[in-house]
Point group: C2
Amino acid sequence: MADWQEITGGVTAPKGFKASGIAAKLKSSGAPDLALIFSEVDAIAAGVFTTSQVKAACVDYCRQRLQAKPSARAILCNAGQANAATGEQGWIDATESAAVLAQALGISADSVLIASTGVIGQRIKMDALKAGIPQLVAEAAADGSDKAAKAITTTDLVTKSFALETLIDGRPVRVGGICKGSGMIHPNMATMLAFVTCDAAISPQLWQQMVSRAADKSFNQITVDGDTSTNDSLIALANGESRTPAIIEPGAEADRLEAMLTEVCMGMAKAIARDGEGATCLLEIRVSGASDDAAARAIARTIAGSALFKAAVFGRDPNWGRIAAAAGRAGVAFEQANLRVQLGEFVLMENGQPLPFDKAAASDYMKQAAAGEYLKSDTVLVAVSVGNGSGTGLAWGCDLSYDYVKINAEYTT
Amino acid sequence: MADWQEITGGVTAPKGFKASGIAAKLKSSGAPDLALIFSEVDAIAAGVFTTSQVKAACVDYCRQRLQAKPSARAILCNAGQANAATGEQGWIDATESAAVLAQALGISADSVLIASTGVIGQRIKMDALKAGIPQLVAEAAADGSDKAAKAITTTDLVTKSFALETLIDGRPVRVGGICKGSGMIHPNMATMLAFVTCDAAISPQLWQQMVSRAADKSFNQITVDGDTSTNDSLIALANGESRTPAIIEPGAEADRLEAMLTEVCMGMAKAIARDGEGATCLLEIRVSGASDDAAARAIARTIAGSALFKAAVFGRDPNWGRIAAAAGRAGVAFEQANLRVQLGEFVLMENGQPLPFDKAAASDYMKQAAAGEYLKSDTVLVAVSVGNGSGTGLAWGCDLSYDYVKINAEYTT
């Protein structure tokens, strides 16, 4: 089905991209905290940002930049301070960060996009950031993705990176990404950042549309605790270095590229959900039969985000009632007589009514899937059908454990 | 300000109402599980029901009944089986329950409203219910509210009852209520039920409008875990037995009655939030400065429902960042430069930026308020202002504790 293959290299897998990550002493731990993604040539740029009314200066900055010019050469990301709720000074710091990097790279300041993650209400440690820029630029390398992936993390337990390659017109085209995130806002640590690179040549309008749609099917379909961050950002660059024909209108080539982009975003999104605070397993919800895809996605998202169902998954309890109840409150109309709920291979509910099933075996399935011991899947799968419509949707989440409460309650400011 | 006083008596505080509650062996525990509220004369009836697409037969039944005729004489409520996801048979059972009670009371079947709470997917134990009806009717008494309040509970730790009295035209008018609920759906136990009685005389249209608006300001503003039940119902009866002038149009008298009704509903709603699964304290969010009340309520509700903030409250952590972030994602537009956040008497944030404050003292405030040792309040108070608008709103919730996870994960079907 999919005519692509997974490759290594993250954001530097696509041709013409370099990356680096260093410890610039923004984090008090001394861990890597400053990352650069750099395109050797001007790249078409698109972004999707937090919808929160309370947003970081970098989000406002990128929105303005992309509105003025849909291209960029570099992304600078700092971890440690979110530069959110920092007022006028936050904007000044954001602007200066971009300017300092641009100067070091010898590019214009409006070719730099920026992102921050860390403690809300704290300004970026500008002296440390500026002192680190020369090393960051000097170390930028075609194999630097892993270092960048590490430097953008905060409370993440693992780094997250994914890349795919396909052929267009006989030539390789690649999409790669790195991302970070585990809770929506861990002890004031701002959330989800994702950076995608691509070496296809594509028009700015098509690229922004593809990136927005891919975000809707991936990052907007994961939930750890329902909280949106002030800093959530997805930035995607396409630099054309694959030397394949420019994609300037919708069609088969555009569809293939979008499918691969979506797959990369989904892979990264799942990695974030799996790394959810306190999570012991990944949860995948597949919804079909809805009136349209948006309706199906809304139902999937609501089930994945139900605290009651998440707690049941932690208890390995095949609780169809909570799945059905969550589906019912998703704000999407359907006939409950058409509701079907399946957990792994166990059909728990059909025609809106519970079926007899082997509860111990269904619970065992959850235990095995969560432990990664069920066939080749390490995911607890829930499939829900709500009717005969053509709408389908996926969402991902994790279970709600004691550790989630511990992580988020026992932190003291 | 308020020209009413609290009285005892719950749903039997208003004149002309009787109630009873018995153990009919619907619950395997043998605890009381069947309740009756009865009006000696025909009462104007209004209802607000779950918006879930997956709903119990009793919800469909009441909606149909109230659409056909906005009056009733009796409410029958069973606890133990939710009669949700029970298909055609569930409808038959609901209809028969109402008919059997009507016959025992000597009233017409369309004068009975019904409600169920308990395990989803289970039919009402009809033989037990029918066998219990004679005793239930025989025991109906003018001081029976507490027994009814007990018989509608499932996992509730306490019964919930509230009544107020005022004077209209020199004569006493009363509004009383009982309710149940603790988690939105505890181990398949369906949720929030509230029954309100009133002895004022009022037109059906006004009564339904008042009840809907009161629900919006009370039951729709509480959240334990964000999950809506298949059975959520508020049913309100007004029987005119106060012999005060009939309220047939909007005006001062209508406003006074609505204010008292709203206060009763708020009192009951707070009692449900306080009894939230695993809760160690009640959380009250006050939002002002929004464009309108609905916007303010949406912000308040989002803060009260934020898992991250709830976990912070459990940790007694004065975490303004999580309050601000939750406000920002409520789907309501505001200028973040206008955001002000106050916790008890501590101003944590002003003009969209954090203020220095004594974190230990703020944490102590949370500890004292949660323990009921802060002045006369047993509530952790959060006040948020988002601008200069006239919109205000309240919401209530509880903290997210280890016990919430324990209660909802360690249950085994």
